[in-house]
Amino acid sequence: MSEDLYKEIILDYYKNPRNYGTLENPDMKAMDTNPLCGDELEMQIKLGESDKIADIRFNGKGCAISMASASILTEMVQGKKIEDARQFNKEELLGAMGTPNLGPVRIKCALLPLKVLKLAIYSHLGKVLEGDDRNL
C-alpha cells in the first residue's frame, strides 16, 4: 500500500461526505461494524417508483477509506433499481474509488458500506446474504 492511497478523491469525500445523515421513516436500513476497528456504519434508504432508490443516507464514524467509500457508493446507487443495487459488485466500487489494491485489511474498510447496503436490501427482500455477498 502506498501513500497515494490517499488520493484527492478520497480526501475530498472524507472531508466533504455526500449523503451523510439520516432519513425519516426509511424503507430499508441496516447497520454493521468493522470488527478490526470497531467502526460502525448505518445505511438508510427510501424507495421511489418502480422500486428505485429515491434517497439514501449513511451515518457512523470511520476512517477516510470507509467514509469516502460510503459517500461514493451512495452516489453510485442513487436512482438504481434495488435489484440492480443488490447486484452491484465490489470491483465497481473499488474502481470508482481509484484504489484497486487496498490489501486484505483496509479493503474491509472500503467494503463495509457495500456490505451494509446489501444487508439492508437483502433483509428488505426477506433474504440472507447469498453467493459472493456472503464473503463481503
Binding site: 500500500m1 461494524t33 470488527p35 478490526l36 470497531g38 490489501g103 486484505p104 485489511v105 483496509r106
Partner: protein, 413 residues
C-alpha cells in the same frame, strides 16, 4: 507392484527431513509417526520465514508485515479446506490439536444438544480424546454412553451399529482408523447409517488425514478433528472441521479478542465464521507451517503416500508375524489397516521391548496408546507399536526385526 518395491523413494524423501541428516553413529529408525511425525525442511522453513521476515500479529494490523501474516494465516486455512474438500474455509477452525477440537464440540454443540436420556455412541477402539470429553458430557447431562464392540479381528460390526442407534442417539463419535489396531473403519457407510437414525457424527481423523484421502463432502461427516503434528506440520496446531450451518448455530467456545464484533460492558456480539471460534492470538507460525506441510504432502501425492505405507506395512506384517512368540493385534489384511502395527512379545512387557529397541536406535511406542478401554478388551496392559510414514523404508523394518530378536536375546527367550 513387485513385492518390496516402493511407490515413493524414501532415500530421496529422507533428504527433505533434517532429522535424518544428523550425523549420528547409528541411523535413526523412527517408527512412531502415529504419535507425532517428523517435519520436512519446508515446514520448518515456512515457520522460520514468518519469524524472520513478516513476524507480526494477524487480523488487526494495518501495516505491511501484518497484512502478509494475515494473508499467510488465511491462506493456510484455504489449503486445509481444499485438502479435505470442505465447502469453504469458513468450515476450518484452527485449534491446538485433535483433543482440543473434540472438547470444543462437546463443550459447545454437546452442551446445547445433548439432554437427559439421550445417548452418545462411541467405539471400543477410541483414543482417550474421543472418550473422556463425551463421558464427562454425558455425566453432566444425565445422558448415557454406549460403545460399539471390537471383534477378535479388530473390526466393528455394522449390524451392531444399527442396533445400538435409537431415537435418543444424538451423536456417533468414532475414529477413522484405530491408533492401536490399525483398523480402517468404513467411515462413509457408518456415517450414512448414523444419519439414517438421525444422529450427527464426529469423525476423529487424526490417524487418517495424514495418510490417505479425506473428503468431508464424500464422507458427509458433521464434524471432523485432526492434528497438524501428525501430518508433518508443527506442534500446537490442529483442525476442527464442521459444516457451516452447524458452526453458525453453535455457541462460541473461548471468549476474547478476535472472536468478537463488538463488546460493551454488559453485552457482546460474535464475529463471523471461522473467527468466532478463534479467540485470542492464534498459533500463527503453526498454521503457516501446517499450510507448508499440506503443500509438501500434495507434492508427493496423498495416494502415493498411502500406497507407500501399505507396502511397508504389508512387509512388516509378514516379517513380524513370522517371529515365534509374537502376537500382532488388528486386521491381517494390509488393505484394511493404516500404516501401523501393534504387537507384544510373549513374556516381555511392552516397555522393556521399547527400551531395548531404543538401544538399537529404533524409536517405537510402548504403552496403552491412550486407548485403555481397548487394552482392557485385548486383555493386555500395554502393547508396543511401530508406525510408518513417507520417510520409512525397508531397512527400518529390518532394523525393527533385528531389534525384536535382540529383545528375545536379552530375555533369553
Amino acid at each position: 507392484m513387485i513385492k518390496g518395491s516402493l511407490t515413493l523413494d524414501p532415500k530421496i524423501i529422507r533428504q527433505d527431513f533434517p532429522i535424518f541428516q544428523q550425523a549420528v553413529a547409528k541411523p535413526l529408525v523412527y517408527l512412531d509417526s502415529a504419535a507425532t511425525s517428523q517435519r520436512p525442511s519446508k515446514v520448518i522453513d515456512a515457520e522460520m520465514e514468518y519469524y524472520q521476515k513478516y513476524n507480526s500479529n494477524v487480523h488487526r494490523g494495518v501495516y505491511r508485515i501484518s497484512v502478509e501474516a494475515t494473508e499467510a494465516y488465511e491462506r493456510a486455512r484455504e489449503k486445509v479446506a481444499r485438502f479435505i474438500n470442505a465447502r469453504s474455509p469458513k468450515e476450518i477452525i484452527f485449534v491446538r490439536s485433535t483433543t482440543e477440537a473434540i472438547n470444543l464440540i462437546s463443550q459447545t454443540w454437546g452442551r446445547t444438544n445433548i439432554q437427559t436420556g439421550d445417548n452418545v455412541l462411541l467405539t471400543e477402539m477410541e483414543h482417550h480424546s474421543n472418550i473422556v470429553p463425551w463421558m464427562m458430557l454425558c455425566k453432566e447431562k444425565g445422558a448415557s454412553l454406549r460403545y460399539l464392540e471390537v471383534d477378535d479381528d479388530g473390526f466393528l460390526s455394522l449390524d451392531q451399529l444399527d442396533s445400538s442407534l435409537d431415537n435418543r442417539s444424538k451423536l456417533l463419535a468414532f475414529t477413522h482408523a484405530s491408533n492401536v489396531l490399525g483398523t480402517i473403519n468404513p467411515a462413509k457407510e457408518m456415517i450414512r447409517r448414523a444419519h439414517d437414525k438421525g444422529a450427527l457424527v464426529v469423525l476423529d481423523s487424526a490417524q487418517t488425514t495424514p495418510h490417505m484421502t479425506t473428503d468431508v463432502r464424500d464422507l458427509d461427516c458433521d464434524f471432523m478433528a485432526f492434528s497438524g503434528h501428525k501430518m508433518l506440520g508443527p506442534t500446537g496446531i490442529g483442525i476442527l472441521y464442521a459444516r457451516e450451518e452447524i458452526l453458525d448455530r453453535m455457541e462460541p467456545f473461548l471468549y476474547g479478542g478476535d472472536m468478537i464484533k463488538e463488546v460493551h460492558k454488559d453485552s457482546a456480539r460474535w464475529n463471523d465464521l471461522p473467527w468466532k471460534f478463534e479467540a485470542g492470538t492464534p498459533n500463527i507460525a503453526g498454521a503457516i507451517g501446517l499450510g507448508a506441510a499440506i503443500d509438501y504432502i500434495n507434492g508427493l501425492g496423498i495416494d502415493q503416500i498411502r500406497a507407500h505405507e501399505r507396502a511397508i506395512t504389508s512387509r512388516a506384517l509378514d516379517m513380524v508375524q513370522s517371529i515365534p512368540g509374537i502376537t500382532v493385534y488388528g486386521p491381517k489384511d494390509p488393505d484394511k489397516r493404516a500404516g501401523l502395527i501393534s504387537f507384544n512379545i510373549k513374556g516381555v512387557h511392552a516397555h522393556d521391548t521399547a527400551s531395548i529397541l531404543d538401544t538399537h536406535n529404533v524409536c517405537i511406542r510402548a504403552g496403552h496408546h491412550c486407548a485403555q478401554p481397548l487394552m482392557e478388551k485385548l486383555g493386555v496392559p500395554a502393547t508396543t507399536r511401530a508406525s510408518f510414514y513417507v520417510y520409512n523404508n525397508n531397512e527400518d523394518i529390518d532394523m525393527l526385526i533385528h531389534g525384536i530378536e535382540a529383545v528375545k536375546g536379552v530375555f533369553k527367550l
